[in-house]
Amino acid sequence: MNLLIVSYLLGKLSLACAGALLVPLIMALCLGDTCLKALLISVLLATVIGYAFLYYGSFDDGHITFREGVAVVSGAWLVISFLGAMPYYFAGTLDFISAIFESISGFTTTGATTITAIEAVPKSMLFWRSMTHWMGGIGIVVLFIAFLPNIGSGAVHMFNAEVTGPTDDRVVPRIRETSVALCKIYIIFTAIEAILLFFAGMSFYDCINHAFSTIATGGFSTYDNGVMHYNSPLIEGIIGFFMILAGGNFALYFSVGKKGIKELWHDTEFKAYIFLVIITTILIAVNIFCKMDFTGTEALRHSFFQVASIISTTGFVSNDFDVWPAFSKYILILLMFIGACAGSTAGGIKVSRIVILCKLTLAEIRHTVHPSMVTNVSMNGKHVPDTVIAGIGRFFFLYMMLFAGLTLSLASTGLSVTDSIGAIAATISSVGPALGVAGATSTYASITPFGKTVICVAMLLGRLELFTLLVLIRPEFWRSTRNW
């Protein structure tokens, strides 16, 4: 492992983070917010840490292999989460653990919050919160690759370690151009949504915040009761549409831009995704219509918004789903696990993996009937390689095991079973609001510091799709390859 280059890149990233922190700093200056000092200290701290990393590291022997890629990505997320927490901590908004929690929740686009009175927090701080979503959504390393000078062929390893999904699909051959293309789509979507929300009646400040939060599938809002604050079907409709859009594969949108809209219907994953949204919306609408006193349109409205919000792992809340019938909550938990499409900003297992797993199960049944049959599974008309298939089965098992282990740790803090399951399901797939104590209209503030640490681990593991972070704990990862 070449630690020098890792350190060099982490240094650059810290400086970039200091640069990003300048945005809320300038805002605070203009608005005269009380958190000005805290932001200033954070910027200075990020700069100092950045230069410290740069001083130690060097880019001379600039060859990034798989290991350095993984180390940079994992390191970047840890460093950035730490730096991003500083404004909350220095301003006294939150204690240290909660500040780290808030920052990780922001960068991983979870949207779980520990701030109980959001409206009392200065505007520039809330803007920083939404910015963490927006930067974390596309991926901090992807942003880095796109905006900073070329770092050579090794970028592919960093890209793969951060971008979600079972296979890496690049839209253009060069990784830097891919990153730029993804960022362009990302920025365009954000801009369109912000404009639409502005015309739907939001203030300029609110519409930027909510657009950041939606496109990153995060879920932070500038109000205590989030989207419920507006109680406007139009705003819910716009946010709902963009949540679903943000849950789709960005690489797919790129080819739609090039080859036309029919590309969407050639994509197995996207079709399955839309199908899931429709089916679950209907199921929940019928369930809450029968069991609660909603009118038909209300039931459909809340059901659609909640499905869109959960499947895209955003976590906006238009109606307190914690009081919905158990069946609806089960469906929502299912959607939390599934998550949206690969290559999106969403969390969860991802629709493409679920589709492949379902196809494999059918293949297994066919195989039982015809024992010597050779079965293969295809997506979008292309054969899925065996290593990918094997990897997906293992990913699913590992996901479930980590889910069980993390839930057990959380339950040891005294949380009830349903609450722990809900909280981990919601954070490992970066949704945010869960059930019970950390439910739709509540926050994570009441959880013990140990519980918050567990949830932080869950959020990072979920965002980086387990393996990127887990390989770090294997001794052979740190062993030198020179003596091979």
Binding site: A326, R366, G414, S420, V471, R474, E476, F477
Partner: protein, 481 residues
Amino acid sequence: MNKRLVMYLWGKIALVFGGYMLFPLLMTLVANENRLAEFGIPVLISVAIGAVLTRGINPYKGRLSVREGILLISGAFVFLCILGMFPFWLTGFSFIDSLFESVSGFTTTGASVLGDLDVLPRELLLWRSLTQWLGGLGIIIVFVTMVPQVGREALQLFTGELHGESAERLLPRITETMKLLFCFYSGFTCVVTLLLLMAGMDFFEAINHAMAIVSTGGFSIYNDGLRHFNSTTINFVVLVCMFMAGGNHVLYFKTYREGLGHLLKDTEFRLYMLLTAIFGIFITVDLYHNSLYSAGNSIFNAFFQTVSTVSTSGFAMANYDAWPDFSKYCLFLLMFVGGCSGSTVGGIKMSRMVILLKVTGAELKRTIHPRMVTTISMTGRVVSPRLIDGITRFFFLYITVFFFSASLLALVGDLSMFSAAGIAAACLASVGAAFETVASIAGYAELNNGAKVIAMLTMLLGRLEIFTLLVLFHPDFWKTE
């Protein structure tokens, strides 16, 4: 598909089943009670069906292929469940309740909907225990001896066992193995009965509980189950015997021949002991920490419930539903794991867990060295990639079925989330007792009929390891070659 051969074998099973039902019938006769009809009629029905099906077929002509094997096993299970419900039905229980009790018995789940057991005739209580015992025996026989006949692939599918020979054909001939397993199972039952007698039960109590323990079922003849005896000795005997029943029976036989070292070298058994110990300690600490019991009692209670759950028996020594949530969650997780293959337990099973854990470790290694070729071995033998694929798919399907069952139970049965999840997990792994509504196995009586039907289907799916039942619904299954 050789349907006639399958029918013939079903007929044979019906005949044997008719004979088996003579036990409670004899008991009725001896006790000189006027209950001949309840058992007489089902005996006649079974014998009649058996006679019709076995008539005029030359059994030596056909060979069983995978499909016929699957049809035979799943058909026989459903068939036995239906025949086994008659005694309950004729006693006056509703159709759904009788079927539920029968399914719960044959799948060795041990969930009960009969309500007050004190008012029931003793023959009926004996019949409940007998269904479990036969269900357990059937599972062992099927998964250890029949399955090699069904084919290599299916064997792997059924048991999560390794290789063709892994169901460890003790002796070359299948009938011999069957006899041996039958003897072992019966012998084990006798030993447990004797131990329970010595611990202070009377003969009827001892034999009923022994059958429920050996088959990892969980039926008791008292409303309050083991709490009726309030005896530490009995609880201790039950604890040890449950643990034994959750281990691989074939392995015990080998241990008997080759010494104790063989038992301790077995990867699966080691994981079984390890997990029991870990979760036992977790729960002990939790119970003691919340000062529910004294230190000694915490250990005893924790391990009793851990073993009862991991061996999928479902006996209860204390009201564990009042335990802290952490302990309950531990028990909930254990339901998914289940005991060792080659026994009567349900759940995902230790052997599959071993392989899944190892495979995941290998995947992490492969992430670091992408071109690395990894092999997985268990107890010193290499596991084929084909088998690993089958197991990961089984895991996915198991979780999926659990999920659908839980959400349907919540919808149909109007249950809380945790309650529904508990029932689904408990039925799928054939544990029986779960949480909240069904904290004791008798709680199932409170479910509505829709929920009972879903629970029944879940039990059957879990017992037949899901694929065995699901393939029946694939159109190709019924097509002729």
